[in-house]
């Protein structure tokens, strides 16, 4: 294997946790296991099987194999309890795996929490030294970087004040500033950017991207905030039930993750879009679809979907195109509808309505991504707004007279193309 290119290699890693209280029952079982080991017998308390919860143990990680290369920025997403944090804890050596091997090539620093080791009674400056040392920096290294750290943290005026008087935002800024100035080759972060204000978040992401690009630093980042994942990562892993569910490109991973989450929600007829749901990376700040209304959310095959959108623009725009990308709930893209012609937008709010034809769609739930864009004279597209997803709808299996018999999407897919003509 090519060690020069590899940053982290994880092979067959599992992590078992014990459920319930630790008490005298635990001691009895510990002695039982120990006695079995002494006699060379099989441990009666080891559970066999692939089930995640067996008896009173939980497999937080259930066999993880991953290879992460140098310079990759890997996002890790998954529902609560999917094993994200456990995986990071193993990598940070906070706890040891139950079985399996991990090889890490390079120095590793972790931010599983904001301001680990910060002490309220100590000043910002003292805490920089403390936190830096905990994260593995030498004193002279911190001496060298302290000015940069203070500058980056934006809390210079308060640097000699005990941090217990800091606001939570200042606290985060200082803590992140220390971590960002570490010289390690691999950085591990768990939800740490969640507290800072938007500008500082942006600054942090830029700093991370920059060190990753210029110094080839490997980044592992766990978050529930899809926007930061989009902005930072170039590879994304979806964990589920302690296993790797998907490993690949970021948008697909987010699609899979959010379909999982959204699938449990009710379909709406009226959507409001705020800042957090947007893919800011692809959008321009001056043009926003703020609301979206549907005539209904459940359709018969062939029925028309009426979509009305409220758009807010700070520019006067001509010939804005719309694109409706149909995807399945698990994230696969099915096809796209284009607006038949461009639409002009004045400054301010404008309402626009579309009809979408469902003739070819078979009974299933669908998601629609709405993308507004401009084409320049070279036919290059400039995205104005991206709603991923914009809305959901369902084609119900009623009154489907176009097809004799029951349409099974597993056998026949989701799109019914034109019937084959008999020529002879």
């Amino acid at each position: 294997m090519d060690n020069d290119r590899m940053a982290i290699q994880i092979a067959g890693v599992t992590k078992q946790y014990r459920l319930g209280q630790i008490g005298s029952g635990t001691l009895t079982r510990d002695l039982q296991s120990w006695w079995a080991r002494v006699r060379g017998k099989e441990d009666p308390n080891t559970k066999i099987g692939s089930k995640r919860i067996t008896g009173d143990t939980l497999m937080a990680l259930n066999g993880i194999d991953l290879t992460i290369h140098k310079g990759e920025r890997v996002g890790i997403i998954g529902r609560n309890g999917a094993g994200k944090s456990t995986l990071l804890k193993l990598l940070c050596r906070v706890t040891a795996p139950t079985s399996g091997e991990i090889d890490i090539y390079g120095r590793i620093t972790s931010m599983l929490e904001v301001g680990t080791g910060f002490h309220g009674e100590m000043t910002g400056r003292e805490n920089i030294y403390m936190n830096g040392a905990i994260l593995g920096m030498k004193k002279e290294e911190i001496d060298r970087k302290i000015e940069d750290i203070i500058e980056f943290s934006e809390v210079r005026e308060f640097i000699d004040t005990p941090v217990k008087r800091y606001s939570s935002g200042m606290f985060v800024k200082l803590a992140f500033a220390v971590a960002a100035h570490l010289d390690s080759e691999i950085m591990i972060m768990d939800e740490v950017l969640a507290v800072g204000d938007v500008t500082f978040q942006k600054k942090c992401l830029e700093k991370m991207r920059q060190v990753s690009d210029s110094e080839g630093r490997t980044i592992l980042y766990v978050s529930h905030n899809m926007n930061t994942i989009r902005k930072l990562c170039d590879r994304c892993i979806v964990l589920d039930e302690g296993m790797v569910f998907y490993d690949g490109d970021v948008e697909t991973a987010i699609g899979i993750y959010s379909s999982d989450a959204i699938g449990k929600e009710k379909m709406l007829r009226h959507y409001y879009f705020d800042e957090s749901e947007r893919n800011l990376y692809f959008s321009s700040p001056g043009f926003k679809i703020t609301e979206l209304m549907l005539n209904k959310s459940c359709f018969e095959c062939g029925e028309t979907i009426s979509v009305t959108m409220k758009v807010n623009s700070v520019f006067e725009l001509e010939n804005v195109r719309f694109r409706f990308v149909l995807t399945l709930m698990q994230g696969d893209k099915l096809g796209t509808m284009f607006s038949e012609q461009g639409v002009d937008f004045p400054i301010g709010e404008k309402e626009i309505a579309f009809s979408l034809d469902t003739t070819h769609l078979m009974p299933e739930k669908y998601r629609v991504h709405v993308i507004a864009l401009l084409l320049d004279e070279f036919e290059k597209e400039h995205r104005l707004d991206c709603l991923l997803p914009g809305f959901l709808f369902e084609i119900a299996d009623v009154n489907n007279q176009h097809y004799p018999g029951y349409w099974n999407t597993q056998n026949t897919g989701f799109v019914r193309l034109h019937d084959a003509k008999i020529r002879k």
């Binding site: 630790i22 906070v94 706890t95 399996g100 090889d103 890490i104 599983l112 080791g117 100590m122």
Partner: protein
Amino acid sequence: MEQYNSHSDEYHIHISAKHKLFDLKLKEVWEYRDLIWLFTKQKFTVYYKQTILGPAWLILNPLITGLMYAFVFGGIAKLDTDGVPGILFYLSGTALWTFFSSSLTKNAEAFTANAKLFGKVYFPRLTMPISNVLSSAIEFCFHFIPVAIFLIYYVIVGKVAPNWTALAVIPLCLFHLGLIGLGFGIIISSLTTKYRDLSIVVGFGVTIWMYATPVVYPLSMLEEGWMKNALLFNPATMPIELYRYALLGRGTVQPFYLGISWITTITVVLLGIAIFNKVERSFMDTV
């Protein structure tokens, strides 16, 4: 669990489910020496913040205890002090014992008290117990101030004659007792991560240990018999007698038992580090 291979300026860490029992990882601890110092410093700056008397407590605390012992054991129980003025005898004894007992009790909760920190970031855990002993040693230096004042007074008056040439062994006594406190402390803390029973025992255990050690009475006071033998095998006995011998010119030092004490100490420390490093790997799951 982990190996540092710094060859060709490339770090490689290997983590596996298996664990080498006698992997003491002392090299890694040395790498983090700045952290040890910062932990030590932090314990001071934090402890006396927002108190009116501040560091004065460092001197008042042992002074009050010493006076109390002088009153109870010297004044009421009239225990022998080997011909040393009572107040100096008790003050010097408590100063050294406080160093030992605080090393022990602080380390006994090394895992449970720092669970939050240990659960979030990796650094060699042994830095924490070491800094506990160091901060206790610095405390001892403050505790020693009243001892020194009384000592100088009694030397001038002519009531005490220290062994001037032997004074250099005092740091060695400190080191010795520090190691015992470290060793027993980390063993207790490793065992308490799963079962908390021991942490309850520690509180009064230390008090019992004090009375089983010649702290408030001299070893010479005891007659030959099983009690004296038991005391001689107590690893804390010889360092205390040696310290008193150097400082106050009175003390019963028997090289044989001093040797036994050192062997016990080193065994306990090595065993402690081994257990500590084993528990460190997964204590977050049970603590």
